[in-house]
Symmetry: D2
Subunit: 344 residues, 4 copies
Amino acid sequence: MISFRSDYSQGAHPKVLEALISTNEEHTDGYGLDVHCERAAELVRDLIGVPDAHVHMTVGGTPCNVTFIAACLRPYESVIAARTGHAYFHETGAVEATGHRIVTVDGEDGKLTPALIDRAFEEYQDEHTPLPRLVCVSQPTELGTIYSKAELNALFKKCRELDLILYVDGARLGSALTCSANDLSIKELARLCDAFYIGGTKNGALFGEALVILRDELNDHFRWMIKRQCGLLAKGRLIGVQFEALLDGGENSIYYKIAARENVTAEIIRSGLSALGIRFYGNSPTNQVFPILPVSVVRKLEDDFFFYEWAPERDGVIPIRLVTGWGTTTEEAEAFVSAVGSLL
Amino acid sequence: MISFRSDYSQGAHPKVLEALISTNEEHTDGYGLDVHCERAAELVRDLIGVPDAHVHMTVGGTPCNVTFIAACLRPYESVIAARTGHAYFHETGAVEATGHRIVTVDGEDGKLTPALIDRAFEEYQDEHTPLPRLVCVSQPTELGTIYSKAELNALFKKCRELDLILYVDGARLGSALTCSANDLSIKELARLCDAFYIGGTKNGALFGEALVILRDELNDHFRWMIKRQCGLLAKGRLIGVQFEALLDGGENSIYYKIAARENVTAEIIRSGLSALGIRFYGNSPTNQVFPILPVSVVRKLEDDFFFYEWAPERDGVIPIRLVTGWGTTTEEAEAFVSAVGSLL
Amino acid sequence: MISFRSDYSQGAHPKVLEALISTNEEHTDGYGLDVHCERAAELVRDLIGVPDAHVHMTVGGTPCNVTFIAACLRPYESVIAARTGHAYFHETGAVEATGHRIVTVDGEDGKLTPALIDRAFEEYQDEHTPLPRLVCVSQPTELGTIYSKAELNALFKKCRELDLILYVDGARLGSALTCSANDLSIKELARLCDAFYIGGTKNGALFGEALVILRDELNDHFRWMIKRQCGLLAKGRLIGVQFEALLDGGENSIYYKIAARENVTAEIIRSGLSALGIRFYGNSPTNQVFPILPVSVVRKLEDDFFFYEWAPERDGVIPIRLVTGWGTTTEEAEAFVSAVGSLL
Amino acid sequence: MISFRSDYSQGAHPKVLEALISTNEEHTDGYGLDVHCERAAELVRDLIGVPDAHVHMTVGGTPCNVTFIAACLRPYESVIAARTGHAYFHETGAVEATGHRIVTVDGEDGKLTPALIDRAFEEYQDEHTPLPRLVCVSQPTELGTIYSKAELNALFKKCRELDLILYVDGARLGSALTCSANDLSIKELARLCDAFYIGGTKNGALFGEALVILRDELNDHFRWMIKRQCGLLAKGRLIGVQFEALLDGGENSIYYKIAARENVTAEIIRSGLSALGIRFYGNSPTNQVFPILPVSVVRKLEDDFFFYEWAPERDGVIPIRLVTGWGTTTEEAEAFVSAVGSLL
């Protein structure tokens, strides 16, 4: 069996594992107050070119999103997000669990636009309606699509106009940064939002995401928030150690290399299937591929490959989702294309 | 100035006020544990024909909705409601404040259908998504429309099928029960849902809504919930006294008479404007009327009448909302029709 | 039966009721945005001598306390209160329901002191412990005792030193202001705290408390908070109308007269029992009296009087609580003293 | 420098690290639905002798505690815990963040007793007070002390009598199970509570705690709760892999060996200091040692050792806390004793 089910189906990239092994016997302080977390934060600040950015090592994507959102909002404030976005779609109401509404809009290809933000504001009137205060987007989106520099710039401008905080979920940020369709560097990203995170879990780490907060007032007492939201890891240095390994070298780091490689294997599948005449659900240029396949083909592929069906069958076809990870090989990608070719 | 802004712009119906005056000097226990609340509950049970229904006197619509919803749900469970519905649209996120998502669907004419409930379930998958557990509808809806007996029956059946609690917000229940289009008695309503409330505030009371819970397990420790949600009034008997006055006589009570009269004055406006060729926003047969009027007419009407604009101007017309209350007179309703007639 | 069970066992003082009757037919805007609420707020500002104080008409003590506390705190912040205080003792965890801890201290005679606040801070260390941010006291306390001007001044100074918000629950503020032991005027109170409320429910109103916020930043979007916490009454003017009646005339208003009279009847009981050699639980100079009586006497008194037992029997005696209200007569107070006298 | 600051200052025990390395390239499903988590759960069930126990791999102690507590309670219910206990003392109000009060009692030597539970119930009366529903204790306690079999049995009996859920935080359970003063096996523990966790973080794991739920109804939709509380790790198998390594062999597993060794090094310190005439704060027989040392000694020890001061200086002495971990050596323990000896 070959797995394309997710980019978190294997452990850590070997270099990350090595870093954990080589530091294993060290004694450090707990809860992220250690030299590895500090060095990792420094690497992040260098990479994004913001010397005074606040960086926190968080355990995973959901706690990172929820803690930041809950820290930013007063009780009557709400979040704007795409109805297909992860924060709404796949976090079991964890944002609402902190007492805040997510106002959903129907994104185009998974993405928000200034017009959609305006539309969310049509629901807002006065003290009888929650006040939107934060816009949550993903780069790439849950559908693998990416914001161009111009698109993010327009979003950020709209957010400034409406006094909204712009937060970017970067669970697969590496894949966005290194895909051929991308025109947005991480330095530019850091100037076009108020906070974002650099995802580790789906880019070679065992776990961990590096949250970057770009406005001082949003960082106030943030460690209290992490603890209160149950996200302060005792051996916090583990996340720091992993990000040291991932980000050493900046844009030449293994973080970028892992991501680029995920994109290469995804592109093999994408172009291979495309050559076979297969169409796709959405327009992902990143490490998620959503081919729409005949049901009979899908059923046979299940014998040799793991993947998710992404939407219910309709008219005899099903969109499936394939995700490549740090360990996915060229051969595995080609094997999938061949298998489809032989089944058509 | 004549006010059609709301059915809560005046105090109490004279009979309700009299009841408050005549009982004012009595000493009773606080927090709703008094003979008036008990008698009011008994009147409710008689009216709905359910001798063992649980009845609670609550301070207002928002606390009633939120307390019941929060009492029913486990932390990971969510509510299904129309995006135009009051619980989503006009309660400043008070439901989400208790930690629960409202999954919105785009109701037709403000109403939910079994198909829309199924659609809400398309978002539900497994432990990564909140589990819908309660459906919240209003009778009449925020747009003044009503569910027929067949429609509510179909909703309730769908709820039973999906193990959903069906809750009916009856802020203006009287108007629904007494309008000419209605085919659903309160006795039938009480058999086609799990809980509902009989609205007092918009039907002649100073304040107060009588919550009716029709399943024992949903009533467990409910008074603890009311207190915890800040809704236990010290002089709780005030609500009991008002509902005693309102419901004495059952279907011949002033509750029914006030509502019927609200509908009569609304109908004068509706048929009068209709005769003038005016069209309406939605299809309300109750005490809310939503005529679509030329902007110039609206601007002149504002000199003599209070009302809300219900949606932004489009193509030179604006839908406005007129609401009749217990004190609205035939003359006031006719004056509005005449005014429009003279302005067209 | 004569009731001393509470100061909320009867309806409204006749003058308050009259005001409700005389304004009943008026049409006003809802939700507290009306001329009566505005006039009531103006009367409050005059009374306290703070022309720019923010005043909100709230439905009851619990919603007032909880809404203000939740509005002031960031998620990781906590409240300091006496373990015997109302916010901890009798609100079913309504503060914690908003996500905040109450750090309890064992008050002396129900009261906090600067030293007790320091003791609460001994639990606070860093991001592993919630940060105390608001001190909640009552004037008078749950045990009927009052803070002197010097005591409140010391508390406020300590709060300023530790960057704590000082909030005073004034459910029975009238009784404190008008009792013979008091040396603290309402004008002084308004300079020695950050917010307080003037209680209506227990001082002649049907319901309603006037919240006074003395720092602009604590008032930010406060009406959104009231609505989100389910406390925005549709016919909000009802509270305004009552406070207009209560506060007209300032220190010569019926608010002061009602309170003074409650104290007079309480004092009849207190001095009468004292003359009989009865001791008291605590040291209340206000409208609550806590005599410690032999069990046999208590059992017989129950035939003619309503009251609460305040603590379990110990050594053959029980502390009971007697409360006088706006309607309590001199004769009723004397009847109680006589009854005890005849039973000893 | 030698560190006695915590049992989480180093990485994983070598055998645990090996297990992570050897499984690193495997593809598995995410979120704990994998063969390693299943095997680890099976090892837990074997070890405790409860074939149908529910076992969940959780990320850390705080999320484990908070998720279980929030899953058990209805909104108006509260927790009873020692004021010195971890859930109250060191989790930044994370329990209250879910809307529930912790009712604190002053434990004796960190421990609860049936009498203290009764005392907590003295605060409970009716719908005006939160209903205690869960008792949270630690084995060992925050002060290193342990419950004997008889003591836990008495607690459990009291909990059954009052319909309370008994939950045992086992962050350092290994140390309790293997210390010489212990008479309570893990099989017995599993029969004397409703849920507990087997701590990994402080017993040789990188992170992770195995939660054991012993009543079916408390496990209902528990994975939804974990996700909603932000605790569902994408690469969930990491926790399973570690517990497979830790628990293989049951009472002969490295889990027991690591813990026993932690106790041995702690005992070297304890008996060594005792021989020097040093007294201790509390009565810990586990891997935490709390010697009370002269200030001057403490200041000099700081040059060579890391440890926490546990309470403020009083009368010239300070209680400090020393904790031994999986990597603490006999030599390190002896070095500390020698250092103290030379400084007295």
